[in-house]
Symmetry: C2
Subunit: 171 residues, 2 copies
DNA sequence: ACAAATATGTTCATGAGTGAACATATCTAG
DNA sequence: CTAGATATGTTCACTCATGAACATATTTGT
């Protein structure tokens, strides 16, 4: 829930003359990142409203999409893909299971792991929900040129790699 | 009523031959947005770890930065800037007040509103925390050219405007 | 082969965020 | 002037997410 709405428009003479950034909001990368974070937050809220008619929330959709793509994935792998803790999956998945959207079956080879898959109704719901999400993203970005989107995606993927690297190597 | 027939559950020859996007993850804007969302999520988690030494979390920092910039702001205005509900502020602010970081004083003119401001120690803590946040953002983005950052910021601000507009006008 | 390290999943207490219902206070239209 | 509409803040029940502690199961090192 980052953020500051408007970017500071007043600049002291000192800040103008010597090119330093005394406040975060005068710092271009800071301002850019805040804009990104705010956009994400709003997108999430909008998606939450759009998904309400299917009675699911963005976290559930993230799970469903991953099961759709990666049938038989384990809870651990799923948590890693979603960048959340294992305990989070342990809390959410039983709920989806009770709703009849997913199935959890023990792995024969490795008795620790639970293999996840969509049921027929889970697959149907996933398709409806992905439709909603894709439509929202499309509508929101349709005046950004595709090549700009791809460029942003590349920047973000570089950023993700850096952050994941530093997470494992706490330098 | 949702039509999802153009999302196919099985890979047909047709899908492979004609270049269409039948799955969200084959859709460039979708993939771009997912990258943005993942980057935000990781950034948030990293910031959470970095702020732990100051015993605050990103939501507190967002509040502090806004009080730093906009002394005397009301809870309502603050919630609007942060894109959260009023009830959220009602839950968080008393905690910060008890820690001696902020003050809440009733407005003389309008007895409904509470005016918020930082205490001396709140100001000090804010500066330390902004230092940490700015350093993280800088380190994470320092191989992205400034002009690319600014371009992204503009795209995101356009997106924010669109989403806010549609929120008020539910078309 | 067996002890130690590692991996997977669960449970629990805690914290952040939400919307609805509520209580006041202010504004606006007759 | 007053009644209804609007604005601000609080409380409540609920959801999502986390990390620590735990229980099992597997892998590794000797």
């Amino acid at each position: 829930m980052f953020t500051h709405e408007h970017i500071c428009t007043t600049m002291s003479k000192k800040q103008k003359t010597i090119e330093q950034h005394h406040f975060p909001w005068d710092h271009p990368r800071f301002r850019s990142w805040i804009a990104v974070a705010r956009a994400c937050q709003l997108m999430q809220q909008t998606l939450t409203r759009r998904l309400a008619e299917l009675d699911i929330k963005p976290p559930h959709l993230d799970i469903l999409i991953n099961l759709y793509r990666f049938d038989g994935i384990s809870q651990q792998e799923l948590a890693r893909k979603l960048l959340v803790g294992r305990s989070n999956m342990s809390m959410l998945l039983p709920h989806l299971e009770k709703r009849g959207l997913i199935e959890r079956r023990g792995d024969e080879k490795d008795k620790r792991v639970l293999r996840l898959s969509l049921t027929a109704s889970g697959r149907l719901l996933s398709e409806q929900a992905m439709e909603i999400q894709t439509a929202l993203i499309d509508k929101s970005l349709d005046d950004e040129p595709i090549e700009d989107c791809l460029k942003v995606a590349q920047s973000m993927e570089r950023l993700i790699q850096r952050l994941l690297k530093e997470e494992s190597d706490p330098g």
